[in-house]
Each structure stands twice: as structure tokens, then as C-alpha cells.
Amino acid sequence: MKVIRTLLLTIILGAMVGLFAVARAQEPAVAPLSFGITPVFLVDQNPFLAHWKDYLESRLHRPVRFVRRKSYAEISDMLLNGQLDVAWLCSYSFAVYSNRLVPLATPLFRGEPYYRSYLIVSAEDSAVRGYLDLAEKVFAYVEPRSNTGFIVPRETLRRLGRDPDHFFRTTFFTWSHADVIAAVADRVADAGAVDSYIWEILARRQPAMAAKTRVVEKSEAYGFPPIVAGPQFPAADLGRLRALLMNMHEDEEGRRLLAMVELDRLGPVDRAWYQNIPLPVMPVVQRTAPSPDDF
């Protein structure tokens, strides 16, 4: 009796495993969409990404994987060599590699597809009026590939006739916009340059910290960091993804998600918006299509 019972159990279990394997085998393997996220975002304080993941997955019918890295350089490298399908890039990285990247959408913030670089100082410092008042001071940058957090302030100084490498007493990178604001608030740095979008959001969500800083100067407008696809992203999926992103503001859940990050909607990309981004000086004429060999 015992032997028969054991045998029966084994058969049943085996059948179950087999059916399961077969069922799995018959499912078509769908590759997840890998989405790179950069410090352009206040990712740490936001369950936004979890909700957005569900939103995208339900409409794309494929799993979505958000990939976070510390630096813009890593994300753009991964995007360029196909490790990432799409990414939310900083404007500078897009400008540099725009001939190889496929723009998908540009967010609209307060009705505009633009953002600016804010020069901020400590709220207790009332003497500083502009960059020229910051000689021999400590300056906080975001990271070497940040448009508003590195490129723009240095270009501004150059236009004012100063050498950005020797103007300040010392500089350092905080590797996130929020931390530049924290550095200035804690007075580790006398001044810093941040993304206007981040500063405005923080002014509302962490008013205590933002109130310790003061915006001294606002730069000209630059194109808002776009969502782009890598060179190896299949063209067939491009249209679907772009349509989905552009129409996010049309349904209620999409609007709710956009409100979480204080964006109006995701709109079409116009390369003209990114033309004024200061790129490294090159002998070649066409600024909009530099080659990576220039770096």
C-alpha cells in the first residue's frame, strides 16, 4: 500500500512540474524595457517611479525596469551601448550625443519646455549679487556632465572674463542637485549652481532647507531634460512608446503621476531648444552634431 501511494505522489508531482515547464516554455519571452534614471530627478523622495512602472507596464504589456546610476556619464554610456533602452537624460548629455540619440519627449514645467540654472547662496549671505562676488569662495557643482550644475556656471564665468578653474578658492561635486542645495544650506559651500526645476520643487516640499538658500541669479532658458531612446532601440517600439508618453496627460492616472513630479505634460521634442547649451569649444562648425571623439 505504501509503495503504491509513494509512486502515485511522484507521478502527480512530476506531471505538475512538466506542465508548468511546458506552459512557461510556450510563453513568448518578453524582454523588459530598461529605463535609465539620472540625478535630474528627486528619485529618493518619490514613490513616483514605482507607480510609473506599473503604469507603463500595464500599457506596454511588457515589464519595465528602472535603472539608477550615480552619474550622467554612466547612464549615457549604457544608453549608447545598448544596455539601456531609454533614459531620462540631462540636457547636456543629449546635446553632446544628439546625433546618436532618438528624442522621445520633452516635459513641460510650468507651461514651458525650459529650465534654468540658478546661482544660489546662503540666505544669511546678503552681500553676493552675482558670480563676480564669489571670488575665492567655495563653490558646489552637481557633477561634470550637468548642464545647469556645472557647464553653465563655468561658461558664465568665462563670459565674464574669469578662469573657472582658478576663480574659486575650492570647488567640489555633490553628485545630485538636492545635495548642492543642502551644501549651500549647511554652508559647506558659499554658493552653488542647481537645476531650477529641482530648486522650485524643493522650495515647496522642503521649505525649511530651501529657505536657507537664496537665488541670486537665474540663467537663460535651456531645453528641459528630455526622455530619449538609445541608438539600438527597435524603431517599431519607438512609435508606441512615444505615443504613450505624449498622451500621458490625457488620462487621469497619467495626470496624477505627472502631478507627483510637478510636470504639466510630456510633449514633442524640438532640437532648437537645446541649441544654446554650451558645448566644449571645438574647431568644427556644426554645434548641434558634435562627435564623441571631441572629448
Binding site: R169, F172, F173
Partner: protein
């Protein structure tokens, strides 16, 4: 020292002992806690410094100021009581590379924020790996360590601890210890007080008892409910005192008995004398009566006979009345008449031995002294003197008041009393040469002592003199 009763002294002493012990232990515990806390704190601070140095080494190498700042900040804001006031990293040129307090120590400036301690700290030799610096006049404890990559000196990590950071912990500790000590004392002190009282009780009871020993109605120590198998010293003491009290009580009643019997013996002796005194006139009276029978019808003889009878009977009555007074022994005040009575009483004995008694009595009417005991004493001394005198000897009796005291003396000639006998003269059962019980002088001495008086015997020239001195109660001149 205050003359405090045992009732307070014993509990007080016990309470003091408890208090002193409590305080000593509290002090020791606090001191030990203080030491341990200091050591622990120093150890922890040194460890933190070492760990922090390792954490910021990589940042220093990659010039990641922000990361180092966040690390320093998290340590300074850390939990627990081992929190530095500030932490800073100095680069090779001695400037601040990063600090937890950028307002006090701005980047790439000399660490002027250290104030007066700066010179003392920075003049040190950086070859030492980790070092604790405690500057004498500064409230700060500093911990320094080198930061190096390989053998290259890259910088110095400096942590400043406020040495007063431990005070709240000390106070909490002290409060806890004192609270516990207080609670323990609160329990022990009343207990000690009670136990002390409990100890003192039997001693006080014993003391009261001993003081009253021998007096009528003296305390009776209670017997213990069960006899103890191993009685303490106190129990044995109580036992002894009880025995002594019983013995003393017995002795006193024996004394009283002896005084009574001696008195009766004295009375007996008296009776012999009195019988003789009564007998004297009786012979004459009977002879007169016989004469009357013979010459009965002669009125002159009848008159003579009757007056002789009358005189004789009066004399007998007088003698008997004196004796009656003695026998009755009513409590009555002494008067000069009492002394005259006594002289009268011993008259027969004096005459029968052919002695000569000279009485010199100068006493006021009122003396405030009891008649009975003093009559007995005087009688006893006179009888002694009479029997000690050689035949034909001279006896002397004197009595007078002086300075509120009654002084009396009885002197007799004859053999002097030897020194050995003199020593034990007033003791009971001494040898008496005239066959008495040997109690007379002892009883007289006791009687006089009870009246706060004294009895002395002395040899004056050829005579033996016994002197009595008794203070009078009534000194008001009448």
C-alpha cells in the same frame, strides 16, 4: 557627650552605622562609575576617531569633499553620548579640507575656529598614529589621528569632544545611586531604630530593677515564657538579678525578725530588773502588813502602815507604767521624760552591782524624734555599760541638743575593748561577755542609721564611750 538614655543611644548608634555604611557604599559606587565612564568614553572616542579616519581616507584621495562632509556630519549628529562637538580634516598644508561645522571651520582656511587650543594642538609631531590630547585649561578633549595612504601623509583627522558631555550621565548616575541609597536608608533607619529600642528595653528594665532592689514593692522581673537552651548574657543577668532580689528580700525580712526578737530579748532582760524593782517594796509592804496585824488597833501604826503601803504601791505603779510604755511601744515623740524613764528602768541593775550613774540631761521638750527606737537604743547601751563595768564603777550618761542634732553618750569604766572586737563591734552575732545574743549593738546601729544618725565607740582615757548623734526633724523653736 550628651547623657542620653540607652533607649536613644542604641538606636541612634545603629542608625548612624546604617547611614555611614549607606553613604560610603554610595560614594564608592559613584566614584567607580565615574572612573568606568571616563575610561569607556575615552576608549569609544578613540575608536570613533580611528574608524572615521579610515572612512574619510578614500574621500581625501579622490577629493570627494561632499561625501566626507556627510560622513563627518553623521558622526557628529550620531546617537549615544559619545558625540564629538566637531570633526575636521586638515590637509597636508594644515588647512581645513572638510569639517562638520563649515561655519566655524570654512574650507581651505586655517583652523582658526580652534581658538586658543590651536597652537597647542598643531605644534605636535604627526608621526604618532592616534593620539588623545587633553589640554589642561580647555574644556575640550581632542582626538587626533594621521590620515595616510601607504606611507604618504595626506592629512590629519581631528575630533573635538566636550569633556562636559559626561556630566548629564554622571548626574543621572548620581541621582540613581542616591535614590536607591535613600530608599534603602528609609527602610533601614526605622528598622534600626526599632531594633535598637528592642535591644535597650531589657537593659533599662534591669537597671530600674537593680535601683529598686531591696525596697518594698521592688520590680519583679518577668520569667521568660520558655527557658532558652542557650541563654544570652542578658538572660543570665536577669536570672542573677532575680536571685539577688529574692535573697535581699529574705535578708531584710530576717533583719526585721531579728530586731523584733532582740527587742523582746531586751524586754526579757528588763523584766528581770523590773521584777526585782517591784520585789523591793513588796517585802517592806508585806512586813508592814504583818506589823499591822500584830498592832492593828493602834491608829498610829495603821497610819504608818497605810502610807508605807501607798508609797510602795505608787512606786510599783510607776515602775510598771514605765515598763508598760516600753512594752506598748506606741509611735510617740521623744521627750526628756523618756530619758528619765530609761534611767529609772535601769536603776535596779545599777544598784544591784553597786555602780554609780551620773545623768546629765539638757533637752528641749520637743525634738522631733521617735521615742520608741531611741529608748531602746539608750536602754541597750546602758545595759551594756552596766554589765561591762567593774563593781563600784562610775557610769555616765549625757544628752543635749546642738545644731539641730541630738547628741547622747554613755560612758563606763572597765576593761577596754580590744581592737579586733572593736572592728566588728556593730556586726551581728559578735561575742558578748555577758551572754547576750550579740545583736544589741548591731540593732542599735541599724536603728540609728535608719534615723540618719550614727553610733560610735571610742576609748577615752580610762573609759569606754559610746556616742549617739541623730538629726532632729523639728528644729523650730517652740
Amino acid at each position: 557627650m550628651l547623657p542620653l538614655s540607652f533607649r536613644f543611644r542604641v538606636p541612634l548608634f545603629l542608625s548612624l552605622v546604617a547611614l555611614t555604611t549607606g553613604i560610603c557604599i554610595a560614594v564608592i559606587v559613584l566614584w567607580h562609575d565615574h572612573r568606568a565612564t571616563r575610561e569607556e568614553s575615552a576608549h569609544d572616542s578613540a575608536q570613533i576617531t580611528q574608524l572615521l579616519a579610515r572612512a574619510v581616507t578614500a574621500d581625501l584621495a579622490t577629493e570627494d569633499v561632499w561625501n566626507a562632509f556627510q560622513t563627518l556630519r553623521s558622526v557628529v549628529n550620531g546617537v549615544g553620548w559619545v558625540k564629538p562637538e566637531f570633526a575636521l580634516v586638515l590637509n597636508e598644508s594644515g588647512q581645513v579640507w572638510v569639517s562638520s561645522d563649515p561655519v566655524r571651520f570654512p574650507l581651505l582656511t586655517p583652523p582658526d575656529g580652534l581658538g586658543e587650543d590651536r597652537r597647542a594642538l598643531l605644534s605636535r609631531d604627526w608621526s604618532l598614529e592616534g593620539e588623545t590630547v587633553s589640554l589642561s585649561r580647555s574644556p575640550m578633549d581632542y582626538y587626533l589621528t594621521r590620515i595616510h595612504m601607504g606611507d604618504v601623509h595626506r592629512g590629519v583627522l581631528l575630533l573635538g569632544f566636550d569633556s562636559r558631555r559626561l556630566y548629564p550621565r554622571y548626574y543621572r548616575s548620581a541621582a540613581r545611586v542616591l535614590a536607591v541609597t535613600g530608599v534603602i536608608l528609609l527602610v533601614c533607619l526605622p528598622l534600626g531604630w526599632r531594633w535598637g529600642g528592642h535591644l535597650a528595653e531589657p537593659l533599662i528594665e534591669l537597671e530600674n530593677c537593680v535601683t529598686q532592689l531591696g525596697e518594698p514593692g521592688a520590680c519583679v522581673l518577668k520569667d521568660p515564657p520558655r527557658p532558652k537552651r542557650h541563654p544570652s548574657e542578658l538572660s543570665r543577668l536577669r536570672q542573677r538579678v532575680r536571685l539577688v532580689a529574692a535573697e535581699l528580700h529574705e535578708k531584710r525580712s530576717l533583719e526585721r525578725q531579728m530586731i523584733r526578737s532582740e527587742r523582746q530579748a531586751a524586754l526579757g532582760r528588763l523584766a528581770a530588773g523590773v521584777a526585782h524593782e517591784i520585789n523591793n517594796p513588796l517585802g517592806g509592804m508585806l512586813t508592814a502588813i504583818a506589823t499591822f496585824r500584830h498592832h492593828g488597833h493602834d491608829p498610829a501604826v495603821a497610819e504608818k502602815t497605810i502610807s508605807l503601803l501607798e508609797r510602795g504601791l505608787q512606786q510599783i505603779r510607776h515602775t510598771v507604767s514605765v515598763l508598760l510604755v516600753e512594752v506598748r511601744a506606741e509611735p510617740r515623740a521623744l521627750t526628756p521624760l523618756d530619758l528619765e524613764d530609761v534611767v529609772e528602768l535601769v536603776g535596779p541593775s545599777v544598784r544591784s552591782r553597786q555602780l554609780h550613774l551620773a545623768a546629765n540631761l539638757q533637752l528641749p521638750e520637743r525634738m522631733g524624734l521617735p521615742a520608741g527606737p531611741l529608748r531602746q537604743v539608750l536602754l541597750n547601751l546602758l545595759l551594756n555599760a552596766i554589765y561591762a563595768s567593774p563593781p563600784g564603777g562610775a557610769l555616765e550618761l549625757g544628752a543635749f541638743m546642738k545644731d539641730g542634732r541630738l547628741d547622747m553618750w554613755v560612758a563606763n569604766e572597765g576593761e577596754s575593748i580590744s581592737d579586733a572586737v572593736m572592728e566588728r563591734l556593730f556586726e551581728p552575732f559578735t561575742e558578748s561577755r555577758w551572754g547576750g545574743a550579740g545583736l544589741g549593738l548591731w540593732i542599735s546601729d541599724q536603728t540609728l542609721r535608719q534615723l540618719q544618725g550614727s553610733l560610735r565607740a571610742a576609748r577615752e582615757g580610762e573609759r569606754t564611750v559610746f556616742r549617739i548623734s541623730v538629726p532632729c526633724a523639728d528644729l523650730s523653736p517652740s
